[in-house]
Symmetry: C2
Subunit: 155 residues, 2 copies
DNA sequence: TACATATGGTACGACTTTCGTAGTATATGA
DNA sequence: TCATATACTACGAAAGTCGTACCATATGTA
């Protein structure tokens, strides 16, 4: 069947692009981190803190798959740079709540400005239904990534 | 304009999914690396070696944005695990050519099997023209990532 | 050819990061 | 009230990173 072969070829192309995109975004994060004197794992954590709101170091450790003591070091660096703040949890005074310092965010976004501009240009080339297909695909893929990761972890 | 707002919302959703996908794939790589007693940077390099064929440590250092001496350590780990082989370049006997050991690849792919299965299920939900849109989008995004990274590097 | 200079890779050592363990503070349950 | 569990971090050992130096080889010049 000719159609099946075309589909296989497309799936392969998607997989390769996904791999390369992942590789490029990792490298971009690495470079951004270097500019800010942060490690890429620091930026990963900062992203999680931004997306998942104020959370405790333990939760962050679980989400990032890192040892709690490692998180301490990462938070030390992020705090020293003024990217996050550590606050006591009023409900549980053993716990610490990590929150992002929003005033500092523009300094980070500035470094992603080039990427954002390019992405906006790319969006402009698609009509609304195509954008919906893309959004849907990415959302499903992210979910697939989450499941695959969970399967691998011995938790 | 209603349409413009819908487009903005879709662009935002795509950006968020992309961010989360990147985060998830990084985490997946990290977990896969842990299973193989490799660092995630090792896997990044292995991926580059796989995609860009046999290359020298210097080229790899440039592609990965790492110090040449760091590459030595990474290659040592990869070689010790049997993932790559170092060979003298017949054309330039100072140089070393790093090539991937294909026989060892299944051990790596096995760990990505869950992700691959999920992705295949996702592909199955789209028709051919939709897959083309997705492939095109990802390819452009990867290229955008490459440009954005190059802009940030002081090379 | 002979020599100076440039380049590729790695060994070495200083510095940093990571993570297992232990310790302190607080919470929970009997 | 006391025992136990949990949250976080300090500390130290082990590993990773990277600037420098070094050796081998290549390239350019006389």
């Amino acid at each position: 069947m000719e159609a099946a072969r075309r589909r296989r070829r497309l799936a392969l192309a998607i997989g390769n692009s996904l791999r390369e995109l992942n590789s490029q975004l990792s490298l971009l994060n690495y470079r951004v981190g270097a500019q800010l004197e942060l490690r890429d794992v620091d930026l990963d954590c900062l992203d999680l803190i931004d997306r998942l709101g104020p959370l405790t170091p333990s939760e962050l450790a679980r989400m990032a798959g890192l040892h709690p003591a490692t998180i301490t070091g990462i938070l030390d660096r992020l705090e020293r740079g003024g990217w996050i703040a550590r606050e006591r949890d009023p409900a549980d005074r053993r716990a610490v709540l990590v929150r992002i310092v929003r005033e500092r965010l523009p300094d980070l976004l500035r470094l992603y400005a080039g990427m954002n501009r390019s992405m906006n240009e790319i969006y402009a080339g698609y009509d609304e239904s195509e954008l919906e297909v893309i959004a849907d695909f990415l959302s499903r893929s992210a979910k697939a990534g989450r499941s695959a990761t969970d399967e691998l972890s011995p938790s």
